[in-house]
């Protein structure tokens, strides 16, 4: 279609983005420099603040752990989904999507029942191994990672699945005809070719996890304070909106940088 026609189709979304996204972002940028004063005070105050650096470190540590855990669990799922019939795939997809569509509050609440010291998992462990088998799974880093993985999983599964499906069966057939066993095919062909999908999934889950708020708040402990919670603190308790906005800008810069990195990477990993 011509560019002129493209504009018609892109019009509504452009209007929406302007009103709902760019103007609010502009508001954030404006607030982060103390409004009309245009001073860098909020940023310098943040950089001098030990709390900020500790929380930033925390946020990255938790996000990387969540990303790796998601990868570990998502790859088998994606692999399984790519190997079943399309009909079955749709059915299994429900299992993958259901937790994503389940309210995060519901899940956090359910996790407190499952992961507590006297929750389901630990009661089983206690029955099998006695008191030493009990593992602290809640209100700590582990709880946050488990909770995060739960909603990040679909975002890791999809890019990998798309990649695996695109690989097609011809390559595998050729390899089998040549005498390669299943494991060899996987290690030498499937896995290397799936790297772009893996990278895309990793960047997306990392970005999403960096900004997460509810999961660390409800499932984490004292050492699991994340950037989004810090923004919340400055917004609602300290009422220093300039600093809250400054943190938001920095968070944005980091996630933006990561996305840009993704578009620069080689390979077929487009989402649209």
């Amino acid at each position: 279609m011509t560019n002129r026609h493209a504009l018609i189709f892109l019009g509504p979304v452009a209007l929406l983005m302007a009103l709902g996204f760019f103007v609010p972002l502009g508001q954030i940028f404006f607030t982060s420099v103390d409004g009309p004063k245009l001073s860098l005070r909020p940023f310098t105050e943040l950089i001098d603040s030990r709390l900020f650096w500790l929380v930033l470190q925390n946020t990255f540590a938790i996000s990387v752990e969540a990303m790796l855990a998601s990868l570990l669990l998502a790859y088998p799922i994606a692999y399984h989904l790519s190997r079943v019939t399309p009909r079955r795939r749709a059915a299994y997809m429900i299992l993958v999507l259901l937790p994503f569509w389940t309210s995060i509050l519901v899940k956090s609440f359910a996790f407190t029942v499952i992961l507590g010291d006297h929750g389901i998992v630990n009661n089983i462990l206690r029955a099998l191994f006695g008191e030493i088998g009990v593992v602290p799974l809640l209100f700590n880093r582990t709880g946050v990672v488990i909770g995060s993985v739960h909603w990040l999983l679909p975002f890791m599964v999809f890019p990998i699945l798309v990649n695996l499906l695109a690989q097609g069966s011809d390559l595998h057939y050729a390899a089998r005809v040549m005498g390669a066993g299943r494991t060899r095919i996987f290690l030498r062909i499937t896995l290397p070719l799936s790297i772009p999908g893996v990278l895309a999934g990793c960047v997306i889950t990392l970005v999403l996890s960096l900004g997460s708020f509810v999961t660390p708040a409800l499932l984490g402990g004292r050492r699991d304070l994340m950037m989004a919670s810090l923004v919340d603190f400055y917004t609602r308790i300290s009422l220093d909106w300039a600093i809250a906005a400054a943190i938001a800008v920095l968070l944005l810069a980091i996630t933006g940088g990561l996305i840009l990195l993704l578009t620069r990477l080689p390979g077929e990993h487009r989402l649209i």
């Binding site: 279609m1 011509t2 026609h5 493209a6 189709f9 892109l10 509504p12 979304v13 929406l16 983005m17 009103l19 996204f21 609010p24 502009g26 508001q27 954030i28 669990l73 088998p76 799922i77 692999y79 399984h80 190997r83 079943v84 019939t85 749709a90 299994y92 997809m93 429900i94 999507l97 259901l98 937790p99 569509w101 389940t102 309210s103 509050l105 519901v106 899940k107 609440f109 359910a110 996790f111 029942v113 499952i114 739960h150 999983l153 999809f158 699945l161 069966s169 997306i204 509810v214 409800l218 989004a228 923004v231 909106w241 809250a244 938001a248 944005l252 996630t255 996305i259 578009t263 649209i272």
Partner: protein, 261 residues
């Protein structure tokens, strides 16, 4: 394609169980007789369901959530589907960049968007209104609609459209008569997902909702702060059932579409 190996199936199933366990746990808890939260429940009673349906503020919050979700669903499909079409069929400089920009709300931390939206809605006097909520949610859900519609568009043969254009049909006519009917299952699936995302969304709603416009997740979040109410498993069960229904319908529709993802 050969069937997956047993080890793959076993590992996958372990992970599937992990994924659905929380949702399943709350269902029996909602039927518990006492006012305490316990698992496994000791008795069976519909008392908490009664409490939910007859407590006016929970129902009011549910109504608000439904209203916002429907508004969000309609607006995000109206904005997202044509946009996906333009991205799939048009070629222009900066298309790739535009694609990334349109996906941005999905990837920007929600709290950033929520704070900015809140500050600016306050200036406009729209903070606490349903319209403000719909704006916030639509911005969040439209990228998802675009992704789903784009995936479907990749499967649709553009030659039909080219033929129609050669015959002299304008682009809007082509879109309406040729593309939309094929895009219909994906559009409905996208609409349902937009509905669910909006219905479950808590961060933006927390900032923007006002006195009479609290949504269900906002009330749940408040409730968690104040007390561990036994009504929560009831709401959780109802939300899970809603998600299950929407999910199933959406998945069935996309399967019909023959799109792989």
């Amino acid at each position: 394609m050969r069937r997956p190996a047993l080890i793959t199936v076993l590992v996958a199933w372990a992970i599937y169980l992990f994924l659905i366990a929380p949702s399943l746990i709350v269902i029996p808890m909602s039927f518990n007789g006492s006012t305490e939260l316990m698992f496994p429940p000791r008795s069976f009673s519909l008392h908490m369901y009664h409490e939910f349906f007859h407590g006016s503020d929970w129902l009011q919050a549910t109504r608000e959530s439904i209203l916002v979700a429907i508004g969000t669903m309609l607006l995000s499909v109206a904005a997202g589907v044509p946009a996906a079409y333009a991205l799939a069929r048009a070629e222009f400089a900066g298309k790739r960049l535009l694609g990334v920009v349109l996906l941005a709300p999905m990837l920007v931390p929600t709290i950033v968007g929520a704070l900015g939206l809140y500050l600016y809605l306050v200036h406009l006097g729209l903070a606490g209104t349903t319209a403000g909520l719909i704006l916030g949610h639509t911005t969040l859900t439209t990228p998802f609609v675009i992704v789903i519609a784009s995936a479907s568009l990749r499967q649709i043969d553009p030659n039909l459209e080219t033929a129609a254009r050669i015959m002299g049909a304008g682009p809007l006519l082509v879109f309406r008569r040729i593309v939309l009917p094929r895009l219909y299952p994906a559009a409905v699936a996208a609409a349902l997902f937009a509905f669910l995302i909006s219905f479950d969304e808590v961060v933006i709603a927390w900032f923007i909702s006002g006195v009479g416009t609290a949504t269900l997740p906002v009330k749940m979040y408040s409730a968690i702060h104040w007390e561990v109410s036994p009504v929560l498993p009831v709401i959780s069960t109802l939300l899970t059932l809603l998600s299950l229904v929407v999910c199933t319908v959406g998945a069935l529709l996309r399967r019909r579409d023959a799109a792989d993802v």
